[in-house]
């Protein structure tokens, strides 16, 4: 099984130096793209490979690039932004990619930036990722010293600057338009679309934002072609995917697997199943803002369409497993409290609705629930839904709640009826 993204990483967890990286074929792809391909060819190759964004929304990457105005009449400077904010609960795949092989991200970014003729690139990094920060900073300096960044890179006519920006730390900064505001020094509030960042993004100029994992795929596509890339996958979408499991499984962790590996394989083969004494109950498949799935969905392939068909989303592809000792009300409360705290405060339903939800869940969990609470919660899942809120944070927050209200309905009712949490003390938290 090929593992292009992680196969060359060191077993001791230290990063590849630029020399290690180049010895393993690193920067060949960037050189090839920048000196031998036109930006349009790079865009088309990504499209042909059917590379889809790994940041959560799963948009076709080549297509995203193709909306950027190109040529001499395009507004300048153009920007390329790496979304390395990774604050989705349960998600830590980008961190592994950056810590283990920072040059892979830099190379992917150079190619992607070249594809849109960007002049300046930014890596917007989650503030707490201190190790990533150090390693990226060092790697960027190395790349500059070899003229892979800066003026006339690889001896071509193409110039690209790269800057590392560490976030002050809000979940909403991962939302690409809030990220742009934050990068401009403004409040991290999303922007309405249209206009899309590809035409009016950072400082009002054409901008593309891509996820770290998305970009790490790019050099390999350039090196090996679209057909190879598609062949890696078990579904119609190209490539591998970094899947992750947390929760009470035997070996929580991350694995690079063919896109479309089933949930069952990931949990029972790679994470080696549930810990002794714990039963599988359900799973949030793609970070906190996806819907719960249960036993019946274990053979669903983890890819964009299959997950959607199953009533959830691939999201970030890093799942949180809920066992039979964990109170689902407590688990949902934990998540909603996170979302309530991370609401940017711009639009009413999210800003006011999430704290209300968190309050109700807290009340239910602590034996103060009322029968009408379930109705109120259900109404929230409607009022905080897509289009009704300003951005996707609130609908994301509603995904686990909405499904929990159905899947764990009995639990909610029992909490309210009995006036207490029926899981005892340990049931209150996600681990």
């Amino acid at each position: 099984m090929e593992r292009p993204l992680t196969g060359s990483m060191r077993p001791d967890g230290l990063p590849l130096s630029i020399k290690d990286y180049e010895d393993k074929g690193g920067y060949q792809a960037a050189r090839k793209a920048v000196t031998g391909m036109s930006p349009k060819e790079v865009q088309d190759l990504a499209k042909d490979a059917n590379l889809r964004g790994r940041g959560g929304a799963g948009f076709n990457t080549g297509m995203k690039w193709s909306f950027v105005p190109m040529g001499d009449s395009a507004p300048r400077p153009k920007y390329f932004v790496v979304n390395a904010d990774e604050m989705e609960p349960g998600t830590f795949k980008d961190r592994m990619l950056m810590e283990g092989n920072p040059h892979q991200l830099i190379e992917g970014t150079i190619i992607a930036a070249y594809a849109i003729e960007a002049d300046i690139s930014y890596i917007f990094l989650r503030g707490e990722y201190k190790i990533c920060e150090k390693r990226l900073a060092a790697a960027i300096a190395e790349a500059y010293s070899r003229h892979y960044l800066g003026k006339k890179i690889f001896g071509s006519g193409y110039n690209l600057e790269m800057r590392l920006h560490t976030s002050a730390g809000r979940y909403i900064c991962g939302e690409e338009t809030a990220l742009l505001n934050s990068l401009e020094g403004k409040r991290a509030i999303p922007r309405a679309r249209p206009p899309f960042p590809q035409v009016s993004g950072l400082w009002g100029k054409p901008t593309v934002v891509n996820n770290v994992e998305t970009l790490c795929n790019v050099p390999h596509i350039i090196n090996n072609g679209a057909e190879w890339y598609k062949g890696l996958s078990r579904s119609q979408y190209g490539g591998t995917k970094i899947y992750g499991v947390s929760g009470r499984v035997k070996t929580p962790g991350l694995w690079e697997l063919p896109m479309g590996t089933t949930i069952r394989e990931i949990i029972w083969e790679h994470a080696r199943g549930m810990r002794e004494g714990y039963q599988f109950r359900s799973v949030i498949p793609g970070g906190a803002s996806t819907e719960f799935l249960t036993e019946e969905h274990l053979d669903v392939q983890m890819d964009f369409d299959s997950m959607q068909k199953a009533g959830s989303r691939l999201g970030t592809g890093t799942m949180i497993v809920i066992d039979d000792h964990t109170c689902p009300v407590g688990a949902v409360h934990n998540l909603e409290q996170f979302f309530a705290r991370e609401s940017c405060g711009w639009c009413t339903p999210c800003r006011e609705g999430l704290p209300w939800i968190a309050n109700i869940l807290h009340a239910i969990e602590n034996g103060q629930g009322r029968p009408e609470d379930l109705e109120i919660l259900a109404q929230h899942t409607d009022s905080l839904w897509l289009n009704k809120t300003f951005c996707a944070l609130a609908p994301g927050a509603m995904e686990p709640l909405r499904s929990a209200l159905q899947i764990f309905r009995e639990d909610f009712i029992r909490h309210i009826k009995e006036g207490k949490c029926t899981y005892g003390k340990n049931g209150n938290n996600l681990h």
């Binding site: 409040r187 609401s343 704290p355 109120i376 109404q379 009022s383 009704k388 300003f390």
Partner: protein, 905 residues
């Protein structure tokens, strides 16, 4: 003509402007859709989610989807439902969300009864509370003497911060924190620094920001007697709505005029009103020989003796009095004995402005037009301090339109965040050339600081670049020449260039050069406008009426031909040097002062007669645009207080002088004015006569919910007094009358069924954000002469040369302090700086003085001692003195001053 589109609202077709957002379109059509974050002047950001409607793809789409009407453009065939059950439930849920943390303290909230949140709550039908958890609470801040802060009432609509920072350019106020703790205030407590902070009171849809001066004598909106009025605190003539109860003026609110102030007022205009309630008011006739007030009859007798037929009487008018007051005085004393009462310098400057506007090809621009200019050149005027709202307009003029950013982006003009994000720091051109650094420079393309003569030289150079028939400037340094070329190029490329100047730096040459620039542009077929700032609310009106400055009046007295001087609403000590005024008073046998407040002049008078302040009478003012605007009496003052023109009419009658005027009401005197003064020929054209009735009814000054009418005077008599009669207007001093919408100029308040707050204004406009229904009020008195042959001014001053041991002192303006009437209001006085002299640090060093230290300086042989303030960007050899501030009144600037500290060090 805008392209129109047919849209379907709940299955009925309507024609709207294509591309408008649906909220704007629906409100303009008269529909009620609740909203919070959208503001007609600040447009859409889509934050509150209150304005939701349901949009359908086509007539077969039954599901539809919820969209925000403020963020959705109206295009041909758009189908929406406002009434759909699901979307109504959603709108209701938004209010329910907002209410979870709202304190529900309406009974003790100053916003209660005129609160947009109350109105929208009722509109959506939310009434029962389901949220049972603890509310969030905030700490409030002290924000200075104007605005009160009560953050718990906030619904996070972001209007305040969008106005304060994005619209008005303030920096010391912002949004802080996040999620449901977002906070709106200052980084730390302290007075708000922006000149337009008072607008927060009207912009905030809840009771977070309320009028602090109003709070001290609070009255509910429904208990306020109101009438349309005009601000008297600068020359722009912003339209206002003063409110009164129990004889006390309680507050000033904005009165929308699409051509003038739009939605906003400056803080001087909003909070300067308290002089009307001040101790300094003159409430009864006073005579020098009596320590007690004198009955009206006795005063009239006395006056008639002083002004007997044949007595040599002169009249000194005033730029802060109505046209009618001035005209009555002029009629009483005769044209030849009437002096306008402005300083000699102002008289010259105003005469020049009138000549330029009335004879030249450039049009005087309204404030609205100034805001729409696409290239601006400010020459010599610190507009933020001398004509504040003009500065607010110019701040909007520099904003790029989406089309100018990049047509390909297809950003609608109302998509405020998208426009700002796309435009970023890029701006339309604004050049500012002034003696000292002004605040407007924050948004300027380029600024230039120089002595007035050098400013004029820059102006002349620009004009010459545009048209070489305008005189060349000799010996212009290369750098300045390049600047002039640049400005000329930009102005000639603009479609609506605007030249702004004014009386501010006291230079005729500056005005002339500004005129030359505008004229040169006009002759290049550009529709160039001119906007001149003038010092007072009726400066232009008075200048149209007559000539003769205070100095001319002094001269007449000096020549010995005067027995009696009648001084109308004027403090001569602000117009001329103290010694000259004193010697004038020494020479005139009888001095009669008609004024509303005690001034230096009033205390010298033999007879003082109590005049109505603006809210107590009717009259007309002409603003800097040349727009004659009526202000209406708001309330009936103490018995003896009357409009100056009524006093003068009665004095005329009592004295038996010829030309006795039978003026019963304002209409008569306006007619007389229009008949006898050419400039005022069409002044009455847009006036609504006093006899005007709608379905036989008056327009009531008191709202339909005015309370306590039968009890208000019950401590005096249980018989309800008959409401006083109004001879001057169709307004009545009662709550009875026509309850619909009056003509635009007569709107006493914005209030409509279901809309109790200022937002009711939407219902009074022909289109939201457009002119008032029936046209914006006011009558322009002059229009440009299209094919004007007027020749360019040709006296280019020589370059300024600094003098050794001397400084050229020019005026510096302060929004708070430089204007006489507002400075009598406590909150404005509190905000005014003390007198000082502004020096360039290098110059200060030369004179061996330093910041904060007092320096002695003699000007026209008079010595002043003033603390030094460093102004690093002053040109060498130039200093500034604050205009009008206490201790510096009557000083005519620019003037040379000699620093006397040197010897002592």
């Amino acid at each position: 003509m805008a392209k129109m589109a047919t849209i379907y609202i709940d299955n009925k077709p309507y024609t709207v402007k294509e591309g408008d957002n649906l909220l704007h379109a629906c409100l303009s059509l008269g529909f009620d859709i609740p909203y919070f974050c959208w503001h007609p002047a600040m447009h859409s950001v889509g934050a509150c989610r209150q304005c939701a409607v349901k949009q359908f793809k086509d007539e077969n789409d039954t599901l539809g989807r919820i969209v925000m009407s403020c963020m959705t453009p109206a295009v041909e065939g758009t189908r929406i439902s406002i009434d759909d059950e699901e979307v109504r439930a959603f709108r209701k849920s938004i209010i329910e969300f907002l209410m979870t943390n709202h304190p529900h303290d309406c009974p003790v909230c100053d916003e209660g009864g005129e609160c947009h949140l109350q109105d929208m709550t009722v509109m959506t039908g939310h009434s029962y509370r389901r949220f049972r958890f603890k509310k969030r609470t905030y700490r409030n801040q002290y924000l200075g003497p104007f605005v009160n802060h009560e953050m718990n009432r906030c619904i996070q609509c972001y209007r305040c911060v969008r106005f304060y920072r994005d619209y008005a350019g303030g920096r010391d106020f912002g949004a802080f924190a996040s999620h449901h703790h977002v906070y709106f205030g200052r980084h730390k407590e302290g007075a708000l620094e922006n000149e337009f902070s008072g607008n927060l009171v009207e912009i905030c849809p809840t009771g977070v920001f309320t009028d602090k001066t109003f709070k001290r004598h609070y009255t509910r909106k429904w208990d306020l007697q109101t009438a349309p009025s005009v601000c008297v605190h600068c020359g722009l003539g912003c339209n206002t709505i003063p409110g009164e109860r129990y004889g006390l003026l309680r507050r000033i609110q904005n009165r929308y005029n699409g051509a003038v102030n739009g939605y906003f007022l400056c803080d001087r205009g909003r909070f300067g009103y308290e002089f009307v309630n001040a101790e300094r008011r003159i409430r009864q006739p006073l005579m020098k020989r009596s320590s007690l007030p004198v009955p009206r009859e006795e005063v009239m007798q006395h006056l008639s003796r002083l002004i007997y037929f044949g007595a040599r009487v002169i009249g000194i008018g005033s730029p802060r009095a109505s046209l009618e007051g001035n005209f009555a005085l002029r009629s009483l004393v005769g044209e030849d004995h009437f002096y306008t009462g402005v300083s000699a310098m102002d008289a010259r400057l105003l005469e020049k402005i009138i000549m330029v506007l009335a004879k030249g090809p450039a049009r005087s621009s309204s404030l609205a037009e100034a805001g729409a200019a696409d290239a601006v050149f400010v020459l010599g005027e610190d507009v933020t301090n001398s004509a504040p709202l003009l500065a607010l307009s110019l701040r909007q003029s520099v904003r790029l339109k989406p089309m100018e950013i990049d047509k390909r982006l297809h950003i609608p003009e109302w998509d405020d965040s998208a426009v700002r994000n796309a435009a970023q720091q890029e701006k339309r051109p604004l050049f500012v050339a002034t003696p000292y650094r002004t605040k407007l420079e924050e948004v300027s393309t380029q600024a230039y600081h120089a002595a007035p003569d050098d400013l004029a030289r820059l102006g002349f150079a620009v004009a010459h670049e545009l048209d070489n028939r305008s005189p060349a400037v000799k010996g212009l340094p290369k750098k300045l020449h390049t600047l002039a070329e640049g400005i000329a190029r930009v102005l000639s490329q603009a479609e609506h260039p605007l030249i702004v100047s004014g009386t501010g730096c006291g230079s005729e040459a500056v005005l002339e050069s500004a005129a030359n620039v505008a004229w040169a542009l006009c002759r290049k077929n550009r529709s160039a406008d001119l906007c001149f700032a003038v010092p007072e609310c009726n400066s232009l009106g008075l200048a149209l009426m007559g000539e003769g400055s205070v100095s001319d009046a002094f001269k007449a007295v000096h020549d010995g031909a005067v027995d009696t001087a009648i001084i109308l609403e004027n403090d001569l000590y602000l117009r001329a040097e103290t010694e000259d005024v004193n010697s004038f008073f020494d020479k005139v046998r009888n001095v009669i002062v008609i004024d509303h407040s005690v001034t230096g002049t009033a205390s010298k008078a033999d007879v003082v007669v109590p005049a109505a302040a603006f809210a107590e009478g009717d009259g007309t003012l002409v603003n800097n645009e040349g727009r004659a605007q009526r202000f209406y009496q708001v309330f009936v003052p103490d018995r003896d207080i009357e409009e100056s023109w009524r006093w003068l009419r009665d004095i005329m009658a009592a004295s038996g002088r010829p030309g006795l005027k039978h003026w019963t009401g304002l209409d008569d005197i306006v007619q007389a004015m229009s008949n006898s003064i050419k400039a005022f020929k069409n002044i009455a054209e847009s006036n609504v006569p006093a006899g005007y009735r709608i379905t036989g009814q008056h327009i009531p000054r008191q709202p339909h919910r005015y309370s306590g009418r039968t009890a208000m005077h019950a401590n005096i008599s249980v018989v309800e007094p008959k409401p006083p009669e109004d001879k001057d207007s169709p307004l009545s001093f009662s709550m009875e009358g026509f309850s619909g919408q009056p003509p635009a100029g007569l709107i006493p308040r914005f209030w409509a069924p279901g809309w109790n707050s200022v937002q009711a204004l939407n219902k009074f406009q022909s289109e939201v954000g457009g002119p008032l229904t029936g046209g914006d009020p006011g009558q322009r008195l002059f229009e440009p002469v299209q094919e004007s042959t007027v020749s360019y001014f040709d006296e280019v001053p020589g370059a300024f040369s600094p003098r050794e041991n001397e400084l050229l002192l020019v005026r510096v303006y302060h929004i708070f302090g430089s204007e006489e009437l507002s400075a009598m209001s406590p909150c404005i006085a509190e905000s005014a700086p003390g007198p000082y002299i502004g020096l360039k640090p290098e110059d200060a060093e030369l004179f061996q003085v330093s910041e904060g230290r007092d320096v002695r300086i003699s000007i026209n042989d008079k010595e002043y001692s003033l603390p030094v303030k460093y102004l690093p960007e002053l040109p060498s050899g130039v200093g500034v003195l604050p205009a009008g501030l206490r201790g510096l009144e009557g000083l005519e600037l620019p003037a040379w001053g000699r620093i006397n500290n040197q010897a002592k060090g």
